[in-house]
Symmetry: C2
Subunit: 335 residues, 2 copies
């Protein structure tokens, strides 16, 4: 497989680029007309650290690489624009594996309005992906940084937490050992719920519409939950120069995740330290909370939940139902 | 070494970002105000394929990764703006190795007016780097693509060719086996000339000022010589839908490179197929040739040499002094 042949085959599969793209893949550079302000983020995924080829199909790996990059744009409230992709291809992936991986990316790009307009492929000992994404807004002040949280703001989270960590535990358990523990609900059988948790790990959804809705509703600070609620809440608090209080019982957990932790003989509160959910954590002035909740439900189709508040001071304190107070570092001991 | 500690140490070393940067590294995304048109390119380098850690110091590897990415902007005639860097770090590199690598990048960024504003670091089995660079122009038509060459245009190349290939041969030879063959000149001793050739391989210079000068002087198509004159001239011809005739004897070879090939018992014309010189190949209307030559000399301090012309038709034909006609594929047989 020659590099140029593979690049040509990749280019043939790319859908037409968006209106900001003046010159797409195939020249020395892609040329775009940003108009306004751009938010740019880079994410790298490496086999064995961010995914496992024995647990994920190539298309899921491609999806996840683009999703984690786009999640950073979601956390800015940006409109997704262009993506540039580097693939390090190991000998055993093969050209069809590359195309399958790319198709996972193309599907998510199409679903999110992202144009894949450039990239590079190279041989590598292990599979790695590096994705650069560029998002847009008319004005830089339309973006939401991590730094604007103010004491008195409500602390909110989109969707549900712990699903990706629970999904990883299900994937790593031999012979679906824990599937029976999930329980199911009225709406979902146990196996459907287990599949949903595995999906949270393998094919996360970047909360782009929710991020834009929160930005418009006046969110003062925002971050995506890639490292986990524990670590990422600390980043938001530090950037904003504030403290955060989180009420553990208020945190919405993914259906089945708590039952799984019990079956695996782990403290369920360890889910609060689980990474890779790619939900959004934001601070919102209390008077905007209802509007933000309505907008996230309407535009992303998921819940927005108040889980605590922003305080003067510094650091993050998590209050457990039994009265214990945890620092974010404490999550790791539970998980 | 924790990821966050290393990222903090990296951020501390970064110089202040340029005027287009609204929010630099440390948030979910960097925020920039492009204003006009942007050219974006991504380049990946992997140990063993694009560099060898036993032949290059970490600072040289960092320099080369940014240089090869910036070279694509040079080939567009873009003004360099921002760079985003992914590092895949193997266990044996160490934190000091990472910082040394980054310092090589910072030095080149400072020399070229590039702001390092974002990135990602991750563990990896082998060292890899992926660099995304964004360049700017007021208008997309100010960029020079590969596609505008017209029959009758002069084909020109900046600087000298074959130095990087000769430098690699010198680096790979045990005990400076070929250094004596280089010969030297009035201005340089043999060992200085050998060092210069090794430098062409280890620390290439992106021809950013030359690229902008050529764009302003009316270059109709441009490409950087990363794969070699043989392959890259073919890309330019194909994108422009024209043929190219190259006069091999007119191609300026790096001092000492021809003597090295003779000493290594290789056909010196194989140098025309050597990659990684990162000089620029461009087509220029004949009436602009003098002005282009003057501008490249004045702004980059290097020569511009006419090496052939653009023809109607397709494909690239290289005329050797002995009358032989080579197709670009033929370079590989010589090298």
């Amino acid at each position: 497989m020659g590099e140029f042949e593979l690049l040509a085959r990749i280019r043939d599969r790319l859908p037409a680029a968006g209106p900001r793209v003046h010159l797409a893949s195939g020249d020395d550079s892609a040329v775009t007309l940003p108009g306004g302000a751009t938010a740019t983020s880079v994410d790298a995924l490496v086999d064995g650290t961010h995914f496992r080829r024995d647990l994920a199909r190539p298309g899921q790996i491609g999806h996840k690489a683009l999703a984690t990059a786009l999640s950073d744009l979601a956390a800015m409230g940006a409109e997704p624009g262009e993506a540039y992709v580097v693939l390090g291809i190991p000998p055993d992936l093969g050209e069809d594996g590359c195309i399958e991986l790319l198709d996972g990316m193309i599907d998510l790009a199409a679903a999110t309005g992202t144009s894949l307009v450039g990239g590079d492929v190279t041989r590598a000992a292990e599979l790695f992906l590096a994705v650069t994404v560029v998002g847009h807004a008319e004005d830089p002040d339309a973006f939401v940084s991590r730094a604007g949280a103010r004491p008195g703001d409500a602390l909110v989270v989109t969707g549900e937490i712990g699903g990706a960590a629970a999904g990883l535990r299900l994937l790593e358990a031999p012979d679906c050992a824990f599937d029976h523990a999930i329980g199911g609900s009225n709406a979902q059988s146990a196996s459907e719920q287990a599949d949903a948790l595995r999906g949270r790990q393998l094919e996360p959804t970047p909360r782009l519409a929710a991020g834009r809705a929160l930005a418009r509703a006046g969110a003062t600070a925002m971050i995506d939950l890639s490292d986990g609620l524990g670590g990422d809440s600390g980043h938001l608090a530090e950037s904003s120069g504030v403290g955060l209080r989180i009420d553990a019982e208020a945190v919405p957990l993914a259906p089945g995740s708590k039952e799984l932790m019990v079956a695996a003989e782990r403290d369920p509160w360890g889910l609060l330290g689980g990474g890779e959910d790619y939900e959004l954590l934001a601070s919102v002035p209390p008077e905007e909370l209802d509007e933000a909740t309505r907008a996230v439900q309407e535009e992303e189709g998921i819940s927005l939940t108040a889980i605590g508040e922003v305080l003067a001071g510094e650091g993050v304190e998590v209050r457990l139902p039994d009265g214990r107070l945890l620092k974010p570092e404490g999550f790791d001991q539970l998980a």
